[in-house]
Symmetry: C2
Subunit: 280 residues, 2 copies
């Protein structure tokens, strides 16, 4: 079987390695730190590992699994070592800026985003079957080589993932709604409560908070690095989503202020009816 | 043991009845519909049951467990039948309007709010031990009879609940933050997503939505009747909370617009740090 390279051995890169070595691929894992490379080898997430980007030489498919803000630099750095015809793909959670930039560097690039996050990060939480039943988005453009797209799609399918395909900008608008907007909405909920000026009431609110508050505040209590990176790289779509959200919130607030209870009921009925489509 | 009356045999009234009959109290259950009274009797949520409010006669403690918008009318309707010295309490989730109004009707009134909601409502989902380990708020005022307060507190404690005590207005401000604001925040999130004009992107967003979106949208997809009643009866505190929330959201949006990523990171770090206090 052809050689596959994985650059960046965290949750996604490590889990990918675990699945692909099990399928029989020779997998070369490349990490920034030698200990990470060694650990990946030891746990079977790679069949060969090291810290040198030149290890991509000879790989037919290269997965760039580094954090979003180093994907482009990594693509630039490996270009001199890539075998002619090698397919390069990434797993970054925002695509609109990255895809055209990497396509300009390497013709056989296919943007990808496996939706398989976890609360924790790193190789230590990598797992076999992580992508099973989860969406795996590929974001081809007019410039994408159909054979490269097919190659990456076949690997994603072999992981048990549900393959989706859309334009990078469509991807970014969709994830702004369902992933990046919720972080800001949820963070602001926590911080609004914290503005309560009466310490007795704040303490009471904290005591009385139950599953409803805990669920609504969960993603707002998540890793700040990730939320910041997403906002930074999907700024335009997120700002659009925030504007629309503010409009929606102002509407229901105005109905409450006007004591238009039928309209408030109607609004809550609409959100109740709309939600199941997001739970597929 | 003294006779206890429970008016309104839904989730809360029914669960209360199940626990109190098991403690050996004679419990008279009063429902609007004869079938509900019969069902409560059959499942052991009452030792006597019917539809006539006159059944409160002879009860030493009366729990009004009807929906919030009928608590006051129920208190008025039972006043002629109450034994002298009977203690009356309720379980409504908003207290600021109700408590002074019922105190004016009956001197031995104690406002209460057991925090023990469920996604479903009604006697069919009533359960033994529902209040175990959950907060049970009592909201005495200057006018509250200390003996009545002690009596209701002793029953709440006997249910295994964690007794809290505060002024009705403090209660309402606290639940506005952690219960009523989240419903509006979460409903608006769903409805904002629904505003996506491109049907392909909307459909993609629905496909890609995972646990983060599902958690953040959960309470916004809840029962519209309940959300509307809460907004209606806690309008002032909810509007204050919404205004503060809008301010908070505008702040993070402005930081994203200004590309002040250190400040965005700092904001998300604050919400991450603040959340655990709400999870006790």
């Amino acid at each position: 079987m052809e050689r596959i390279a994985i650059i960046g051995l965290g949750l996604i890169g490590g889990s990918l390695g675990l699945d692909l070595t099990r399928q029989g691929y020779p997998v070369v894992g490349i990490a920034r730190r030698a200990e990470t490379a060694k650990a990946a080898l030891a746990m079977g997430a790679a069949t060969e590992a090291g810290t040198d980007l030149a290890l991509v030489a000879g790989a037919e498919v290269v997965f760039i699994c580094t954090p979003i803000d180093t994907v482009l630099a990594t693509a630039k750095a490996i270009a001199p070592y890539l075998s002619a015809g090698a397919v390069v793909t990434d797993v970054a959670s925002v695509k609109g800026e990255l895809v055209p930039a990497i396509e300009a560097l390497w013709p056989n690039f296919v943007g990808g985003h496996p939706m398989a996050g976890k609360a924790e990060a790193g190789l230590a939480v990598a797992e076999i079957g992580l992508f099973q039943g989860r969406p795996y988005v590929l974001t081809p453009t007019e410039a994408t080589n159909p054979a490269a797209l097919e190659r990456v799609g076949a690997i994603a399918t072999s992981l048990g993932a549900n393959l989706c395909q859309c334009h990078p900008d469509q991807h970014d608008r969709a994830v702004a709604w369902i992933s990046h907007l919720p972080v800001m909405v949820s963070s602001s909920l926590i911080l609004a409560c914290q503005q309560e000026a009466d310490p007795d009431i704040l303490s009471l609110a904290q005591t009385l908070a139950s599953s409803g508050f805990q669920d609504t505040s969960r993603v707002g209590g998540g890793v700040p690095d990730l939320g910041t990176l997403m906002a930074r790289h999907n700024r335009t779509a997120l700002l659009d989503a925030l504007t629309q959200y503010q409009h929606q919130l102002e509407q229901i607030k105005a109905l409450i202020a006007a004591e238009d209870w039928d309209a408030v009921h109607n609004t809550l009925t609409q959100s109740q009816a709309a939600r199941p489509a997001y739970l597929a």
